[in-house]
Amino acid sequence: MNDEFLTSLRRQPPAQFSRELKRKLQAQDAQQQRRFWPRRFKTLLLLIAGPALATGIFIFERSPPAAAPPTTLATEPRQTLAAPTDTSPAPQEQQPPAAAPEQTLPVEAPPARPAVKIATSPQARGFIQTVVDGLQPRSSNLRPQLQEMEAGAAFAALCSPESVRQVDIVISSRRITREEFMTCRRHGGGNVTESKAGYQALVLTGARDSRPMKLTARDVYLALARQVPDQIYGTSIDNPNITWDQVNRKLPYRPIKVLGPASYLPLRQLFENLLLDAGCNLAPAQPDVCHALRIDGVYAEVEQSATLIPQYLWTDPNALVLVDYEFYRDNRSQLAGSALEGPEPSSATLADGTYSLARPIYVYTDVGRIGRAADGPNIMQSLLSPRLPNPNQYGFVRIDERERKNPWHPLSESDLIPQKE
């Protein structure tokens, strides 16, 4: 096709315009960063004060008994035990007379180890917090400290040099990249391990005997978003779509009705991250309205109950329902297959990543250093245990036994060769 007369019309943008726009975008970034300054300041303060406090405690502990009373042990309960030796005036009846001299003897304190620091993505924070709170037993009384970070920042923290390392375990819904892994190696952390703790997965389905649908994320978004781009002018308008064929001409004439999790539930956040963001990217709408759903009854919040959902679907066979994968698996006989295009949800499609409404939960640590944090290996073991607690409403799916591998096997560079998409 002779189209030279068209291709020859292309021009490079003026260099000055290019530079000025870049400067403008960088200024926009700086403005956003200024808004986050108080938060960053707090983090910085924590980073400075944390090690300083730890060093102070360490020096205090190591001082001779004369200089420091033997009341300073690493954990709070021991401090309570040693309290009677305090020289401050205290009511006589509160001090057990016989036990006091024994308790004031210098005790061989175990070396103070900091609490395990776990970095998790904001999306998985709620779920991981619940899981970590339920981890038992612990040999020390130090609770793991959970920090919310984007994956890139978390891997940077895990892979920073030993002296400034801020994170012991990273929980992420994406894999570490080769570049991040090489950074770890450069900083002496060559024993990074990668394990899957499980998945978070949802299923959009319908009544068992309903007509099968094969929707895209874009279709679902355009059916459920409160505001959608106008077909003609591209501006945002209130969603006028009532039937699926209005959303996409290839879809059948069928009233749009979707039942899903309430806005305050963690499952709703998963729905937003996995499906609405996908549709919003493809639509695309203004990013700030990506999660705003219709309030005209087309989307209805429903409790995920094995009794209620089949009843709803029985009364309205056109309705679709969004449930977590475990609920879907447990009630498969009452439900149709997935209403989204692509493979059906199963252990295999979750594992190979082909099922679109799921995300893996990876756990990373440096086995050479995890032992230096209090309870580090125990917590790591618990996170990867087949008996990991499964709190409701997070859409968590335990990993299939066949997929489970040795959590202490260090990752190698060849494991991270990019796979073809």
Binding site: L6, R10, F17, K22, D29, T177, L282, C290
Partner: protein, 169 residues
């Protein structure tokens, strides 16, 4: 026809590279879409500002970056064209048309203006196809993703459009 394209941005996005790669595409998309140089810089800047402020929400596993960016550009362009659409009375429009034929105007104008005048007769969708293909240098698959047409349909439409434009050039 087009040079090698850098890889799509990964999870760890090199925004400098993305900017360098996408800026000429968006810029030329608007040049072809509007058929004139005026407003092109403004619309390009507006597209990048929108995308930049929302880029933390972009996820590679959900849509190609250029698809996402061009969706924004399409909306920005549509908003602009809608706001600028002239509302001249019909009889005045008829007079204007009689006064300046496309051929006489084209002889005086630059090639870009000539293209703008020729594509102005086409439906919106076809104008967009030309801008995406020859302005933004997207391939047929990417255009299909953006327009909702099939890849083969995009190829056929573009072939016919180029034939038509060339015959009038």
């Amino acid at each position: 026809m087009h040079g090698a394209r850098p890889a799509e941005p990964t999870d760890k996005v090199d925004w400098d590279a993305v900017y360098a790669d996408q800026l000429p595409r968006i810029y030329n998309y608007f040049r072809f879409r509007l058929g004139r140089a005026a407003d092109v810089e403004d619309l390009t800047a507006r597209t990048f500002e929108k995308a930049w402020s929302a880029r933390s929400r972009y996820r590679r596993d959900l849509a190609g970056f250029s698809t996402w960016l061009f969706r924004i550009a399409q909306n920005v362009g549509t908003d602009h064209l809608r706001a600028r659409r002239p509302h001249a009375p019909l009889d005045m429009a008829a007079g204007l048309a009689a006064e300046l034929t496309p051929e006489s105007q084209a002889a005086r104008d630059s090639d870009l203006s000539r293209l703008g005048r020729l594509t102005a007769r086409l439906p919106e969708r076809e104008q967009d196809l030309i801008a995406l293909k020859y302005g933004a240098a997207l391939n047929n698959r990417e255009i299909a993703r953006l327009t909702g047409l099939s890849e083969s349909n995009v190829g056929t439409l573009l072939y016919r459009l180029v034939q038509t434009l060339r015959s009038q050039w």
